[in-house]
Amino acid sequence: MSDAVETPKPHGGDIVLDYELDEAPEKVWRALTQPHLVAAWLGPNDIAPDVGHSFVLEPAPDKTVACEVVEADPERRLSYRWREANEAGGVVDSTVTFEVTPTPLGGSHLRLVHSGFRTAGAGGLLGVANDNTLMQWSAKWAA
């Protein structure tokens, strides 16, 4: 795991997407946090922008994601844990974060980060606190 000369890739496997939107942060925030609006672009859900709130999201008919809000800073930042089952009876955990910043012309910059993919056993998390190594392996493999 220790290769001192390798360029650090702290976000080696993260998905980072940036968008310029015409709408103001207030409006974008509503589209990110109100269930009926979220349902229209992401899937049925019972989201609420409250830290600790657990909700279920169905992005596709055959797919269920267990989410938990970990950060909710109105009109600025929303982050939730994204937990999916895998076929082996375990789970894959990751985190989805939306960052909203106002732009000079009254619109918003939206950054979406899907990161921290890690796998754990059937019984839940198995000591994965220090185990965000999957992406490092992947980065090494891809290098």
């Binding site: 968008y19 672009w41 895998n86 082996a88 999957l134 891809a142």
Partner: protein, 109 residues
């Protein structure tokens, strides 16, 4: 979107065990014998051998025999199914953000 279209069950299962993940990680970048590996783990040599067998079964570890010694190394390319699995989100999110844009256009105010 079909996240189910890849056969990653075996790789997931093999990596679900923390000791096995640690074994795999130690074998990244260097070949080791079972006794090399046993040093540093609070796990018996037969247990390590069992973990190695499971990792070999899904292609995450390979074995090279030299005389009476067997050397093991990680095969990170076997992680490809996991990488593919994650990569599907690289198409999922842009599609959904396009829908989000439509939602925003349709909102009042």
């Amino acid at each position: 979107m079909a996240l189910e279209s890849y056969d990653h069950t075996g790789v997931f299962r093999a990596l679900a065990d923390p000791t096995r993940r640690a074994v795999f990680e130690r074998l990244m970048g260097c070949e080791m014998t079972v006794s090399d590996l046993t040093t540093g783990f609070a796990v018996s040599q037969p247990a390590i051998s069992q973990h190695l067998a499971a990792l070999r079964g899904v292609g995450l570890v390979s074995e090279r025999r030299a005389g009476k010694f067997a050397f093991y190394r990680a095969e990170p390319a076997a992680l490809a199914p996991l990488v593919d699995w994650i990569d599907q989100y690289r198409t999922f999110w842009p599609e959904r953000i396009e829908r989000l844009k439509d939602v925003l256009k349709g909102m009042d105010q």
